[in-house]
Symmetry: C2
DNA sequence: AGAGCTATTGAGTGATCGCTCAAGAGCCAT
DNA sequence: ATGGCTCTTGAGCGATCACTCAATAGCTCT
């Protein structure tokens, strides 16, 4: 997963995979049936981990918006030793996939949609418990949140220094925390 | 350029380039000296067009912030027949480039930096002419703007429907137009 | 027309691609 | 120990990769 994540589908050869998995080609093809299937398995694992990490954050944080804002700020903090795995693997996959691999592209879109739905559900919970205004469009907020998160991680991949990354994450996080403030001020008005 | 943009560096073969350029391998290697050099030439052309388009918008628009907000909204409107060229070629390049092609990665970063500096200069002009608060950090605003623009274009690449894309662009554009409102309200306060 | 030059051609280079499969290793029950 | 089963091995498959170069075509001079 990490190898595919770092190098991408096309740039990763079976030689690379043999070394990373410590398996010979025959074993690889016995366990998985093709390079594409192996990639799809890696992508699925990546998605499940991302989703589970998000859910864990939502459970532990005091509120949905706090969890999401925290995720943005934490993402800036993950200055990986390998910057190649700073960007989201699903986004990398989507941008790298052409018409030659429609299955991979479709799955990528599906995973992104699933993550967006998780975000949307979180915003709906924030509305239900009065953290943000009830008349907002949760799906629209989710799309905005996901876009910002993807952009932040691309910025990290690019090599933007930690301080600037923190500032950017803070700008983004505030954008969502302000929804809370707006609700409060509207309620108190 | 369009072929590399759509398919990416690794997935584009010389066969593809021969067809797209209507040139035989010998001619391609006489004109450019390698696939990598050809890619770099395409990337440079892409950058120059992007930069020139931005400058034209900044000249024509009534103000810097109006130009930048307009760029975001216009980007949502570019629902290409080919969604493969919706995302920024430089971003795609950066995410697709590995340690095997350091020259391409370096150039990508350089172009992104150059675009960010253009954005920063625009925000500085907005400050100079009183459109936004003079104490803001223009470079920080530029980084935020560039991140949002990249994210919006990825969203377009992903296939998000036009209406949702417009809503997202509007959210983003407002984020910058609000800098103006804050200045005005502060001035009028 | 013909010499001199540049630009183009496309068959072919070795290397590497994703992938296969006959042969052998490892393991367990008898 | 031996037969039977699963799993692993790695040489090697055809295809394709980026790339080369001797031969040719096309052009501009006199």
């Amino acid at each position: 997963m990490r190898l595919f994540w770092a190098k991408g589908y096309h740039a990763t050869s079976l030689k690379d995979l043999e070394a990373a998995l410590n398996m010979r080609p025959g074993s690889i093809y016995a366990a998985f049936s093709s390079k594409e299937a192996l990639y799809l398995a890696a992508l699925q694992r990546y998605f499940e981990r991302s989703r589970d990490d998000l859910r864990a954050r939502l459970e532990e944080a005091p509120s949905p918006v706090a969890a999401l804002a925290g995720l943005l700020r934490a993402t800036a903090g993950v200055v990986e030793d390998e910057a190649a795995t700073a960007a989201c693997m699903i986004v990398k996959t989507l941008l790298d996939t052409t018409a030659a691999e429609p299955e991979i592209a479709d799955r990528s879109r599906g995973y992104l949609d699933a993550m967006r739905d998780e975000f949307a559900a979180a915003f709906e919970r924030a509305q239900a418990q009065g953290e943000i205004a009830p008349d907002a469009d949760a799906m629209r907020l989710a799309r905005r949140f996901q876009s910002q998160l993807n952009a932040l991680r691309i910025e990290a991949h690019r090599g933007t220094p930690r301080a600037e990354l923190d500032a950017l994450a803070d700008d983004m996080a505030r954008g969502f925390e302000d929804l809370r403030a707006a609700t409060i001020s509207a309620a108190s008005a």
